[in-house]
Point group: C2
Chain length 301, copies 2
Protein backbone atom coordinates (compact mmCIF):
# COMPACT_ATOMS: atom_id res chain seq x y z
CA UNK A 1 0.00 0.00 0.00
CA UNK A 2 1.72 3.13 -1.25
CA UNK A 3 -0.13 5.30 1.23
CA UNK A 4 1.15 3.30 4.19
CA UNK A 5 4.74 3.34 2.98
CA UNK A 6 4.50 7.09 2.39
CA UNK A 7 3.01 7.55 5.85
CA UNK A 8 5.83 5.69 7.45
CA UNK A 9 8.27 8.13 5.87
CA UNK A 10 6.12 11.09 6.84
CA UNK A 11 5.69 9.96 10.44
CA UNK A 12 9.46 9.75 10.86
CA UNK A 13 9.65 13.48 10.08
CA UNK A 14 6.82 14.83 12.23
CA UNK A 15 5.89 15.04 15.85
CA UNK A 16 3.07 12.46 15.99
CA UNK A 17 0.88 15.06 17.71
CA UNK A 18 0.95 16.96 14.43
CA UNK A 19 -0.02 14.02 12.23
CA UNK A 20 -3.63 13.03 11.61
CA UNK A 21 -4.40 10.25 9.15
CA UNK A 22 -7.90 10.00 7.68
CA UNK A 23 -8.38 6.49 6.40
CA UNK A 24 -10.76 4.97 3.87
CA UNK A 25 -13.23 2.49 5.37
CA UNK A 26 -15.08 1.79 2.13
CA UNK A 27 -13.24 -1.52 1.83
CA UNK A 28 -14.21 -2.65 5.33
CA UNK A 29 -15.81 -6.04 5.28
CA UNK A 30 -17.34 -8.57 7.65
CA UNK A 31 -15.66 -11.96 7.64
CA UNK A 32 -16.87 -14.69 10.02
CA UNK A 33 -18.92 -12.03 11.80
CA UNK A 34 -15.78 -9.98 12.48
CA UNK A 35 -15.49 -6.37 11.38
CA UNK A 36 -12.29 -6.01 9.36
CA UNK A 37 -10.95 -2.55 8.39
CA UNK A 38 -8.11 -3.43 6.02
CA UNK A 39 -6.90 0.09 5.27
CA UNK A 40 -7.03 1.24 8.88
CA UNK A 41 -5.15 -1.84 10.04
CA UNK A 42 -2.52 -1.52 7.33
CA UNK A 43 -1.88 2.08 8.37
CA UNK A 44 -1.63 1.12 12.05
CA UNK A 45 0.55 -1.94 11.47
CA UNK A 46 2.81 0.07 9.16
CA UNK A 47 3.24 2.95 11.58
CA UNK A 48 3.80 0.43 14.39
CA UNK A 49 6.53 -1.24 12.33
CA UNK A 50 4.90 -4.68 12.52
CA UNK A 51 3.45 -4.81 9.02
CA UNK A 52 4.28 -7.66 6.71
CA UNK A 53 6.33 -5.66 4.16
CA UNK A 54 5.37 -8.06 1.39
CA UNK A 55 2.51 -8.09 0.48
CA UNK A 56 2.13 -4.88 2.50
CA UNK A 57 -0.68 -5.92 4.80
CA UNK A 58 -1.09 -8.20 7.81
CA UNK A 59 1.46 -8.71 10.55
CA UNK A 60 5.02 -9.86 9.88
CA UNK A 61 5.52 -13.54 10.71
CA UNK A 62 1.86 -14.12 11.43
CA UNK A 63 0.47 -17.66 11.13
CA UNK A 64 -2.92 -18.76 9.87
CA UNK A 65 -3.92 -21.45 12.36
CA UNK A 66 -7.34 -20.00 13.21
CA UNK A 67 -8.11 -19.28 9.56
CA UNK A 68 -7.23 -22.83 8.55
CA UNK A 69 -9.55 -24.07 11.28
CA UNK A 70 -12.32 -21.66 10.26
CA UNK A 71 -12.39 -23.58 6.98
CA UNK A 72 -14.11 -26.36 8.97
CA UNK A 73 -17.06 -23.99 9.40
CA UNK A 74 -17.03 -21.70 6.36
CA UNK A 75 -16.88 -22.37 2.64
CA UNK A 76 -14.82 -19.26 1.97
CA UNK A 77 -11.61 -18.34 3.73
CA UNK A 78 -9.90 -16.42 0.94
CA UNK A 79 -9.38 -13.26 2.99
CA UNK A 80 -6.12 -14.02 4.78
CA UNK A 81 -6.54 -13.13 8.45
CA UNK A 82 -3.53 -14.14 10.51
CA UNK A 83 -3.66 -15.26 14.13
CA UNK A 84 -2.24 -12.01 15.50
CA UNK A 85 -4.25 -9.91 13.05
CA UNK A 86 -7.40 -11.71 14.20
CA UNK A 87 -7.03 -10.23 17.67
CA UNK A 88 -7.54 -6.77 16.15
CA UNK A 89 -10.77 -7.83 14.45
CA UNK A 90 -12.07 -9.65 17.52
CA UNK A 91 -11.45 -6.56 19.62
CA UNK A 92 -12.96 -4.19 17.05
CA UNK A 93 -16.09 -6.32 16.69
CA UNK A 94 -16.49 -6.68 20.45
CA UNK A 95 -16.06 -2.95 21.05
CA UNK A 96 -18.49 -2.03 18.25
CA UNK A 97 -21.07 -4.45 19.67
CA UNK A 98 -20.61 -2.75 23.03
CA UNK A 99 -21.60 0.51 21.35
CA UNK A 100 -18.24 2.16 20.77
CA UNK A 101 -17.74 4.17 17.59
CA UNK A 102 -15.32 3.06 14.90
CA UNK A 103 -13.38 6.23 15.75
CA UNK A 104 -12.97 5.19 19.38
CA UNK A 105 -12.10 1.60 18.46
CA UNK A 106 -9.54 2.74 15.89
CA UNK A 107 -7.90 5.00 18.47
CA UNK A 108 -7.74 2.08 20.92
CA UNK A 109 -6.14 -0.21 18.33
CA UNK A 110 -3.57 2.44 17.41
CA UNK A 111 -2.81 2.93 21.11
CA UNK A 112 -2.51 -0.84 21.65
CA UNK A 113 0.14 -0.89 18.91
CA UNK A 114 1.95 2.14 20.26
CA UNK A 115 1.02 4.39 17.33
CA UNK A 116 1.02 7.98 18.55
CA UNK A 117 -0.25 9.76 15.45
CA UNK A 118 -4.02 10.26 15.28
CA UNK A 119 -5.59 7.58 13.09
CA UNK A 120 -9.20 8.30 12.08
CA UNK A 121 -11.62 6.23 10.06
CA UNK A 122 -13.21 8.50 7.45
CA UNK A 123 -16.64 7.94 9.04
CA UNK A 124 -18.32 5.92 11.76
CA UNK A 125 -21.26 4.78 9.63
CA UNK A 126 -20.78 1.86 7.24
CA UNK A 127 -19.80 2.85 3.70
CA UNK A 128 -19.12 0.02 1.30
CA UNK A 129 -17.25 0.33 -1.97
CA UNK A 130 -18.91 -1.73 -4.68
CA UNK A 131 -17.13 -2.43 -7.94
CA UNK A 132 -19.19 -3.17 -11.02
CA UNK A 133 -17.44 -5.68 -13.21
CA UNK A 134 -18.59 -6.63 -16.70
CA UNK A 135 -20.30 -10.05 -16.73
CA UNK A 136 -19.81 -10.44 -12.99
CA UNK A 137 -22.10 -7.74 -11.64
CA UNK A 138 -21.67 -5.67 -8.48
CA UNK A 139 -18.93 -6.98 -6.22
CA UNK A 140 -18.11 -5.82 -2.69
CA UNK A 141 -14.60 -4.39 -2.84
CA UNK A 142 -12.71 -7.23 -1.15
CA UNK A 143 -14.50 -9.81 -3.26
CA UNK A 144 -13.46 -7.89 -6.36
CA UNK A 145 -9.88 -7.29 -5.23
CA UNK A 146 -8.85 -10.28 -3.13
CA UNK A 147 -11.22 -13.05 -4.20
CA UNK A 148 -11.39 -11.95 -7.84
CA UNK A 149 -7.76 -10.81 -8.03
CA UNK A 150 -8.89 -7.43 -9.40
CA UNK A 151 -9.69 -9.09 -12.74
CA UNK A 152 -12.45 -8.11 -15.12
CA UNK A 153 -13.52 -4.95 -16.86
CA UNK A 154 -14.63 -2.31 -14.36
CA UNK A 155 -17.76 -0.51 -15.50
CA UNK A 156 -18.55 1.41 -12.33
CA UNK A 157 -17.60 2.11 -8.74
CA UNK A 158 -20.13 3.06 -6.08
CA UNK A 159 -19.81 3.95 -2.42
CA UNK A 160 -22.89 2.46 -0.82
CA UNK A 161 -23.96 4.47 2.21
CA UNK A 162 -21.62 7.39 1.49
CA UNK A 163 -24.36 9.94 0.99
CA UNK A 164 -25.86 9.22 4.41
CA UNK A 165 -22.51 8.99 6.17
CA UNK A 166 -20.82 11.94 7.83
CA UNK A 167 -17.05 12.36 8.06
CA UNK A 168 -15.94 11.88 11.65
CA UNK A 169 -15.89 15.28 13.38
CA UNK A 170 -12.21 14.97 14.29
CA UNK A 171 -11.36 14.51 10.60
CA UNK A 172 -13.17 17.68 9.56
CA UNK A 173 -11.57 19.56 12.45
CA UNK A 174 -8.10 18.31 11.48
CA UNK A 175 -8.64 19.32 7.86
CA UNK A 176 -9.87 22.78 8.85
CA UNK A 177 -6.89 23.35 11.13
CA UNK A 178 -4.21 21.63 9.08
CA UNK A 179 -1.19 23.50 7.80
CA UNK A 180 -0.62 20.88 5.12
CA UNK A 181 -2.81 18.22 3.58
CA UNK A 182 -1.28 15.35 1.64
CA UNK A 183 -3.10 12.87 -0.55
CA UNK A 184 -0.68 9.94 -0.56
CA UNK A 185 0.11 7.74 -3.58
CA UNK A 186 -3.08 5.71 -3.29
CA UNK A 187 -5.71 4.51 -5.69
CA UNK A 188 -7.68 7.74 -6.35
CA UNK A 189 -10.84 5.82 -7.21
CA UNK A 190 -11.22 3.34 -4.34
CA UNK A 191 -8.88 4.58 -1.59
CA UNK A 192 -9.25 8.36 -1.84
CA UNK A 193 -12.57 8.33 -3.73
CA UNK A 194 -14.70 7.11 -0.80
CA UNK A 195 -13.32 9.82 1.46
CA UNK A 196 -14.05 12.53 -1.09
CA UNK A 197 -17.53 11.09 -1.64
CA UNK A 198 -18.57 11.89 1.93
CA UNK A 199 -20.88 14.89 2.27
CA UNK A 200 -19.13 18.15 3.17
CA UNK A 201 -15.68 16.62 2.65
CA UNK A 202 -15.01 18.44 -0.62
CA UNK A 203 -16.49 21.67 0.78
CA UNK A 204 -14.20 21.53 3.81
CA UNK A 205 -11.19 20.79 1.60
CA UNK A 206 -12.03 23.66 -0.74
CA UNK A 207 -12.50 26.11 2.16
CA UNK A 208 -9.30 25.00 3.93
CA UNK A 209 -6.38 27.28 4.65
CA UNK A 210 -3.86 24.50 4.02
CA UNK A 211 -2.30 23.68 0.71
CA UNK A 212 -2.92 20.22 -0.65
CA UNK A 213 -0.29 18.04 -2.29
CA UNK A 214 -1.22 14.81 -4.05
CA UNK A 215 1.36 12.16 -4.91
CA UNK A 216 0.88 10.16 -8.10
CA UNK A 217 0.35 6.42 -7.52
CA UNK A 218 1.41 5.87 -11.13
CA UNK A 219 5.03 5.84 -12.20
CA UNK A 220 5.97 5.65 -15.87
CA UNK A 221 2.50 4.55 -16.90
CA UNK A 222 2.18 1.65 -14.45
CA UNK A 223 0.41 1.76 -11.08
CA UNK A 224 3.00 0.54 -8.60
CA UNK A 225 0.48 -1.88 -7.21
CA UNK A 226 -3.09 -3.10 -7.57
CA UNK A 227 -5.73 -3.07 -10.24
CA UNK A 228 -5.74 0.71 -10.64
CA UNK A 229 -4.91 0.23 -14.31
CA UNK A 230 -8.15 -1.73 -14.95
CA UNK A 231 -10.22 0.73 -13.00
CA UNK A 232 -8.90 3.83 -14.77
CA UNK A 233 -9.25 2.20 -18.19
CA UNK A 234 -12.73 0.85 -17.48
CA UNK A 235 -13.98 4.21 -16.32
CA UNK A 236 -12.46 6.09 -19.28
CA UNK A 237 -9.57 7.75 -17.48
CA UNK A 238 -6.08 8.08 -18.88
CA UNK A 239 -3.74 5.55 -17.25
CA UNK A 240 -1.00 8.00 -16.38
CA UNK A 241 -0.13 10.56 -13.72
CA UNK A 242 -2.12 13.03 -15.85
CA UNK A 243 -5.21 10.85 -15.58
CA UNK A 244 -4.84 10.87 -11.81
CA UNK A 245 -4.03 14.60 -11.65
CA UNK A 246 -7.24 15.29 -13.56
CA UNK A 247 -9.20 13.58 -10.71
CA UNK A 248 -7.64 16.00 -8.23
CA UNK A 249 -8.22 19.15 -10.31
CA UNK A 250 -9.81 21.98 -8.27
CA UNK A 251 -8.74 20.11 -5.13
CA UNK A 252 -4.94 19.71 -4.97
CA UNK A 253 -2.48 22.56 -5.38
CA UNK A 254 0.61 20.46 -6.00
CA UNK A 255 0.91 17.20 -7.87
CA UNK A 256 4.00 15.09 -7.28
CA UNK A 257 5.18 12.86 -10.13
CA UNK A 258 8.16 10.62 -10.62
CA UNK A 259 11.23 11.82 -12.46
CA UNK A 260 10.56 9.19 -15.15
CA UNK A 261 7.38 11.14 -15.87
CA UNK A 262 9.05 14.57 -15.95
CA UNK A 263 7.87 15.08 -19.53
CA UNK A 264 4.28 15.14 -18.24
CA UNK A 265 4.89 18.20 -16.04
CA UNK A 266 3.49 20.70 -18.59
CA UNK A 267 0.26 18.70 -18.89
CA UNK A 268 -0.07 18.67 -15.06
CA UNK A 269 0.52 22.41 -14.99
CA UNK A 270 -2.13 22.87 -17.68
CA UNK A 271 -4.65 21.31 -15.26
CA UNK A 272 -3.91 24.07 -12.75
CA UNK A 273 -1.75 21.92 -10.48
CA UNK A 274 1.84 22.78 -9.72
CA UNK A 275 3.92 19.76 -10.82
CA UNK A 276 6.66 18.53 -8.50
CA UNK A 277 9.10 16.10 -10.07
CA UNK A 278 11.07 13.78 -7.80
CA UNK A 279 11.88 10.12 -7.13
CA UNK A 280 8.55 8.68 -5.95
CA UNK A 281 9.44 4.97 -5.92
CA UNK A 282 9.55 3.97 -2.24
CA UNK A 283 11.85 0.97 -2.37
CA UNK A 284 12.85 1.27 1.30
CA UNK A 285 12.30 3.33 4.45
CA UNK A 286 14.91 5.91 3.43
CA UNK A 287 13.22 6.44 0.06
CA UNK A 288 9.83 6.88 1.77
CA UNK A 289 11.31 9.39 4.13
CA UNK A 290 13.01 11.29 1.30
CA UNK A 291 9.79 11.48 -0.70
CA UNK A 292 7.81 12.67 2.34
CA UNK A 293 10.46 15.29 3.08
CA UNK A 294 10.29 16.57 -0.50
CA UNK A 295 6.51 16.82 -0.40
CA UNK A 296 6.58 18.68 2.94
CA UNK A 297 9.24 21.05 1.70
CA UNK A 298 7.35 21.77 -1.52
CA UNK A 299 4.15 22.41 0.46
CA UNK A 300 5.99 24.96 2.56
CA UNK A 301 7.28 26.89 -0.42
CA UNK B 1 -13.42 -33.87 32.43
CA UNK B 2 -14.62 -37.27 33.61
CA UNK B 3 -17.82 -36.99 31.61
CA UNK B 4 -15.92 -36.54 28.35
CA UNK B 5 -13.60 -39.46 29.00
CA UNK B 6 -16.58 -41.63 29.90
CA UNK B 7 -18.38 -40.49 26.75
CA UNK B 8 -15.45 -41.43 24.61
CA UNK B 9 -15.65 -44.96 25.96
CA UNK B 10 -19.41 -45.05 25.56
CA UNK B 11 -19.32 -43.75 21.99
CA UNK B 12 -16.94 -46.53 21.00
CA UNK B 13 -19.62 -49.05 22.02
CA UNK B 14 -22.73 -47.52 20.44
CA UNK B 15 -24.00 -46.66 17.00
CA UNK B 16 -23.71 -42.84 17.09
CA UNK B 17 -27.32 -42.62 15.92
CA UNK B 18 -28.27 -44.08 19.30
CA UNK B 19 -26.23 -41.67 21.40
CA UNK B 20 -27.56 -38.30 22.49
CA UNK B 21 -25.46 -36.15 24.82
CA UNK B 22 -27.17 -33.38 26.78
CA UNK B 23 -24.51 -30.92 27.86
CA UNK B 24 -24.39 -28.30 30.60
CA UNK B 25 -24.19 -24.73 29.32
CA UNK B 26 -24.27 -23.08 32.75
CA UNK B 27 -20.54 -22.48 32.52
CA UNK B 28 -20.77 -20.77 29.13
CA UNK B 29 -19.08 -17.41 29.17
CA UNK B 30 -18.38 -14.48 26.88
CA UNK B 31 -14.72 -13.68 26.37
CA UNK B 32 -13.70 -10.87 24.00
CA UNK B 33 -17.29 -10.79 22.78
CA UNK B 34 -17.08 -14.46 21.76
CA UNK B 35 -19.57 -17.01 23.08
CA UNK B 36 -17.59 -19.88 24.61
CA UNK B 37 -19.33 -23.13 25.62
CA UNK B 38 -16.55 -24.97 27.45
CA UNK B 39 -18.46 -28.16 28.27
CA UNK B 40 -20.00 -28.51 24.81
CA UNK B 41 -16.62 -27.99 23.17
CA UNK B 42 -14.86 -30.44 25.45
CA UNK B 43 -17.44 -33.10 24.59
CA UNK B 44 -17.09 -32.43 20.85
CA UNK B 45 -13.30 -32.26 20.87
CA UNK B 46 -13.15 -35.43 22.95
CA UNK B 47 -15.50 -37.40 20.70
CA UNK B 48 -13.61 -36.06 17.66
CA UNK B 49 -10.35 -37.30 19.15
CA UNK B 50 -8.69 -33.88 18.97
CA UNK B 51 -8.94 -32.93 22.63
CA UNK B 52 -5.85 -31.98 24.57
CA UNK B 53 -5.77 -34.99 26.91
CA UNK B 54 -4.07 -32.98 29.62
CA UNK B 55 -5.63 -30.77 30.96
CA UNK B 56 -8.66 -32.33 29.26
CA UNK B 57 -9.93 -29.30 27.34
CA UNK B 58 -8.85 -27.37 24.26
CA UNK B 59 -7.33 -28.84 21.14
CA UNK B 60 -4.18 -30.93 21.16
CA UNK B 61 -1.13 -29.00 19.99
CA UNK B 62 -3.00 -25.73 19.80
CA UNK B 63 -1.03 -22.48 20.03
CA UNK B 64 -2.03 -19.24 21.72
CA UNK B 65 -0.92 -16.60 19.23
CA UNK B 66 -4.24 -14.78 19.03
CA UNK B 67 -4.74 -14.89 22.79
CA UNK B 68 -1.27 -13.46 23.39
CA UNK B 69 -2.11 -10.66 20.94
CA UNK B 70 -5.52 -10.09 22.56
CA UNK B 71 -3.57 -9.08 25.65
CA UNK B 72 -2.73 -5.86 23.75
CA UNK B 73 -6.43 -5.00 23.97
CA UNK B 74 -7.74 -6.66 27.11
CA UNK B 75 -6.56 -6.62 30.72
CA UNK B 76 -7.64 -10.22 31.30
CA UNK B 77 -6.68 -13.18 29.16
CA UNK B 78 -6.73 -15.91 31.77
CA UNK B 79 -9.19 -18.12 29.91
CA UNK B 80 -6.90 -20.05 27.58
CA UNK B 81 -8.41 -20.02 24.11
CA UNK B 82 -6.10 -21.58 21.53
CA UNK B 83 -5.86 -20.52 17.90
CA UNK B 84 -7.75 -23.55 16.57
CA UNK B 85 -10.23 -23.45 19.45
CA UNK B 86 -10.90 -19.80 18.67
CA UNK B 87 -12.38 -20.75 15.29
CA UNK B 88 -15.16 -22.60 17.14
CA UNK B 89 -16.03 -19.56 19.22
CA UNK B 90 -15.86 -17.18 16.26
CA UNK B 91 -18.22 -19.43 14.32
CA UNK B 92 -20.59 -19.91 17.27
CA UNK B 93 -20.77 -16.17 17.94
CA UNK B 94 -21.30 -15.36 14.27
CA UNK B 95 -24.06 -17.96 13.88
CA UNK B 96 -25.81 -16.85 17.09
CA UNK B 97 -25.71 -13.23 15.90
CA UNK B 98 -27.26 -14.38 12.64
CA UNK B 99 -30.16 -15.76 14.67
CA UNK B 100 -29.31 -19.46 14.86
CA UNK B 101 -30.10 -21.32 18.08
CA UNK B 102 -27.36 -22.73 20.28
CA UNK B 103 -28.78 -26.15 19.39
CA UNK B 104 -28.26 -25.57 15.66
CA UNK B 105 -24.80 -24.08 16.17
CA UNK B 106 -23.75 -26.96 18.40
CA UNK B 107 -24.90 -29.46 15.78
CA UNK B 108 -22.91 -27.60 13.11
CA UNK B 109 -19.76 -27.62 15.25
CA UNK B 110 -20.13 -31.33 15.97
CA UNK B 111 -20.60 -31.95 12.24
CA UNK B 112 -17.56 -29.82 11.38
CA UNK B 113 -15.51 -32.05 13.67
CA UNK B 114 -16.98 -35.25 12.29
CA UNK B 115 -18.85 -36.14 15.50
CA UNK B 116 -21.85 -38.26 14.54
CA UNK B 117 -23.54 -38.61 17.94
CA UNK B 118 -26.19 -35.99 18.72
CA UNK B 119 -24.71 -33.26 20.93
CA UNK B 120 -27.30 -30.98 22.51
CA UNK B 121 -26.85 -27.96 24.74
CA UNK B 122 -29.18 -28.30 27.72
CA UNK B 123 -31.05 -25.17 26.63
CA UNK B 124 -30.92 -22.39 24.06
CA UNK B 125 -31.50 -19.55 26.51
CA UNK B 126 -28.57 -18.30 28.58
CA UNK B 127 -28.20 -19.93 31.99
CA UNK B 128 -25.21 -18.88 34.06
CA UNK B 129 -23.83 -20.77 37.01
CA UNK B 130 -22.82 -18.41 39.79
CA UNK B 131 -20.69 -19.60 42.69
CA UNK B 132 -20.90 -17.76 45.97
CA UNK B 133 -17.55 -17.74 47.68
CA UNK B 134 -16.98 -16.50 51.23
CA UNK B 135 -15.34 -13.06 51.29
CA UNK B 136 -15.30 -12.90 47.48
CA UNK B 137 -19.01 -12.70 46.71
CA UNK B 138 -20.84 -14.09 43.67
CA UNK B 139 -18.49 -15.24 40.92
CA UNK B 140 -19.43 -16.34 37.41
CA UNK B 141 -18.41 -19.98 37.12
CA UNK B 142 -15.29 -19.57 34.96
CA UNK B 143 -14.04 -16.72 37.12
CA UNK B 144 -14.43 -18.95 40.16
CA UNK B 145 -12.91 -22.04 38.54
CA UNK B 146 -10.28 -20.82 36.09
CA UNK B 147 -9.39 -17.34 37.31
CA UNK B 148 -9.79 -18.16 40.98
CA UNK B 149 -8.45 -21.71 40.72
CA UNK B 150 -11.55 -23.03 42.48
CA UNK B 151 -10.24 -21.65 45.77
CA UNK B 152 -12.31 -20.25 48.62
CA UNK B 153 -15.18 -21.51 50.75
CA UNK B 154 -18.28 -22.10 48.63
CA UNK B 155 -21.42 -20.88 50.38
CA UNK B 156 -23.88 -21.22 47.51
CA UNK B 157 -24.39 -22.13 43.87
CA UNK B 158 -27.07 -20.53 41.71
CA UNK B 159 -28.13 -21.06 38.11
CA UNK B 160 -29.08 -17.61 36.89
CA UNK B 161 -31.77 -17.81 34.21
CA UNK B 162 -32.51 -21.50 34.77
CA UNK B 163 -36.09 -20.97 35.89
CA UNK B 164 -36.95 -19.12 32.70
CA UNK B 165 -35.00 -21.45 30.42
CA UNK B 166 -36.53 -24.49 28.76
CA UNK B 167 -34.61 -27.67 27.99
CA UNK B 168 -34.11 -27.96 24.23
CA UNK B 169 -37.00 -29.99 22.78
CA UNK B 170 -34.67 -32.61 21.30
CA UNK B 171 -33.25 -33.25 24.76
CA UNK B 172 -36.66 -33.87 26.31
CA UNK B 173 -37.59 -36.08 23.35
CA UNK B 174 -34.37 -38.09 23.69
CA UNK B 175 -34.93 -38.56 27.42
CA UNK B 176 -38.53 -39.69 26.87
CA UNK B 177 -37.51 -42.18 24.21
CA UNK B 178 -34.22 -43.37 25.71
CA UNK B 179 -33.67 -46.98 26.64
CA UNK B 180 -30.88 -46.00 29.01
CA UNK B 181 -29.88 -42.74 30.66
CA UNK B 182 -26.44 -42.31 32.13
CA UNK B 183 -25.26 -39.50 34.39
CA UNK B 184 -21.50 -39.58 33.82
CA UNK B 185 -18.85 -39.06 36.49
CA UNK B 186 -19.23 -35.28 36.56
CA UNK B 187 -19.53 -32.67 39.24
CA UNK B 188 -23.13 -33.18 40.42
CA UNK B 189 -23.44 -29.58 41.60
CA UNK B 190 -22.16 -27.54 38.66
CA UNK B 191 -22.12 -29.93 35.68
CA UNK B 192 -25.27 -32.00 36.26
CA UNK B 193 -26.97 -29.54 38.63
CA UNK B 194 -27.74 -26.89 35.97
CA UNK B 195 -29.37 -29.49 33.72
CA UNK B 196 -31.54 -30.79 36.56
CA UNK B 197 -32.44 -27.22 37.53
CA UNK B 198 -34.24 -26.63 34.23
CA UNK B 199 -38.04 -26.67 34.45
CA UNK B 200 -39.66 -29.99 33.54
CA UNK B 201 -36.29 -31.79 33.42
CA UNK B 202 -36.83 -33.67 36.68
CA UNK B 203 -40.43 -34.42 35.75
CA UNK B 204 -39.38 -35.89 32.41
CA UNK B 205 -36.66 -37.95 34.08
CA UNK B 206 -39.08 -39.24 36.71
CA UNK B 207 -41.71 -40.18 34.12
CA UNK B 208 -39.18 -41.86 31.81
CA UNK B 209 -39.29 -45.49 30.82
CA UNK B 210 -35.49 -45.80 30.85
CA UNK B 211 -33.40 -46.73 33.83
CA UNK B 212 -30.86 -44.21 35.00
CA UNK B 213 -27.33 -45.02 36.05
CA UNK B 214 -25.10 -42.44 37.67
CA UNK B 215 -21.35 -42.87 37.96
CA UNK B 216 -19.59 -41.50 41.02
CA UNK B 217 -17.08 -38.73 40.26
CA UNK B 218 -15.47 -39.48 43.61
CA UNK B 219 -13.08 -42.37 44.11
CA UNK B 220 -11.81 -43.25 47.57
CA UNK B 221 -12.88 -39.93 49.04
CA UNK B 222 -11.19 -37.70 46.47
CA UNK B 223 -12.85 -36.15 43.43
CA UNK B 224 -10.74 -37.24 40.49
CA UNK B 225 -10.57 -33.63 39.34
CA UNK B 226 -11.70 -30.13 40.17
CA UNK B 227 -12.94 -28.28 43.17
CA UNK B 228 -15.84 -30.63 43.85
CA UNK B 229 -14.41 -31.26 47.31
CA UNK B 230 -14.74 -27.57 48.30
CA UNK B 231 -18.22 -27.36 46.85
CA UNK B 232 -19.56 -30.42 48.63
CA UNK B 233 -17.98 -29.40 51.94
CA UNK B 234 -19.14 -25.80 51.66
CA UNK B 235 -22.71 -26.82 50.98
CA UNK B 236 -22.80 -29.39 53.78
CA UNK B 237 -22.63 -32.54 51.69
CA UNK B 238 -20.56 -35.59 52.55
CA UNK B 239 -17.41 -35.71 50.42
CA UNK B 240 -17.80 -39.31 49.31
CA UNK B 241 -19.67 -41.40 46.75
CA UNK B 242 -22.47 -41.51 49.32
CA UNK B 243 -22.71 -37.72 49.37
CA UNK B 244 -23.06 -37.74 45.59
CA UNK B 245 -25.51 -40.67 45.59
CA UNK B 246 -27.69 -38.73 48.01
CA UNK B 247 -27.97 -35.95 45.39
CA UNK B 248 -29.30 -38.49 42.89
CA UNK B 249 -31.80 -40.12 45.25
CA UNK B 250 -35.25 -40.50 43.69
CA UNK B 251 -33.63 -39.94 40.31
CA UNK B 252 -31.04 -42.62 39.53
CA UNK B 253 -31.71 -46.37 39.77
CA UNK B 254 -28.10 -47.52 39.74
CA UNK B 255 -25.10 -45.86 41.30
CA UNK B 256 -21.67 -46.92 40.10
CA UNK B 257 -18.79 -46.68 42.56
CA UNK B 258 -15.15 -47.66 42.42
CA UNK B 259 -13.95 -50.95 43.85
CA UNK B 260 -11.90 -48.99 46.40
CA UNK B 261 -15.24 -47.78 47.77
CA UNK B 262 -16.89 -51.21 47.83
CA UNK B 263 -17.47 -50.88 51.59
CA UNK B 264 -19.89 -48.00 50.85
CA UNK B 265 -22.23 -50.22 48.82
CA UNK B 266 -24.65 -50.87 51.75
CA UNK B 267 -24.99 -47.12 52.36
CA UNK B 268 -25.75 -46.56 48.64
CA UNK B 269 -28.33 -49.32 48.76
CA UNK B 270 -29.89 -47.74 51.86
CA UNK B 271 -30.55 -44.63 49.75
CA UNK B 272 -32.64 -46.73 47.37
CA UNK B 273 -29.99 -46.92 44.62
CA UNK B 274 -28.60 -50.20 43.39
CA UNK B 275 -24.82 -50.04 43.94
CA UNK B 276 -22.56 -51.24 41.14
CA UNK B 277 -18.94 -51.75 42.14
CA UNK B 278 -16.28 -51.68 39.42
CA UNK B 279 -13.04 -50.00 38.38
CA UNK B 280 -14.11 -46.41 37.62
CA UNK B 281 -10.68 -44.80 37.19
CA UNK B 282 -10.40 -43.99 33.46
CA UNK B 283 -6.64 -43.92 33.01
CA UNK B 284 -6.81 -44.64 29.28
CA UNK B 285 -9.23 -45.26 26.42
CA UNK B 286 -9.52 -48.97 27.20
CA UNK B 287 -10.45 -48.23 30.82
CA UNK B 288 -13.11 -45.71 29.69
CA UNK B 289 -14.53 -48.26 27.31
CA UNK B 290 -14.55 -50.98 29.97
CA UNK B 291 -16.36 -48.73 32.46
CA UNK B 292 -18.94 -47.69 29.86
CA UNK B 293 -19.51 -51.35 28.91
CA UNK B 294 -20.05 -52.26 32.56
CA UNK B 295 -22.55 -49.45 33.05
CA UNK B 296 -24.47 -50.42 29.90
CA UNK B 297 -24.51 -54.06 30.87
CA UNK B 298 -25.74 -53.28 34.40
CA UNK B 299 -28.47 -51.01 32.99
CA UNK B 300 -29.67 -53.88 30.84
CA UNK B 301 -29.95 -56.32 33.73
Amino acid sequence: MGAARFLRGLSSLLDPRNLTVIVNTGDDETFFGLHVSPDVDTVIYTLAGVVNALPGWGIRGDRFTSLTTLARFYDETWFRLGDQDLATHIFRTDALHRGQTLTAVTAAIARAYGVRATILPMCDAPVRTVVEVAERGSLPFQRYLVHGGGRGRVTGIRFRGARAARPVPAALRALRQATNVIIPPSNPLVSIGPILALPSMRAVLTARRARIAAVSPIIAGAPVKGPLHHMLTGLGHEVSPVGVARLYRNLADLFVIDQRDAALAPRIAALGLRPVVTDTLMTNAAASRRLAATVLSELRQ
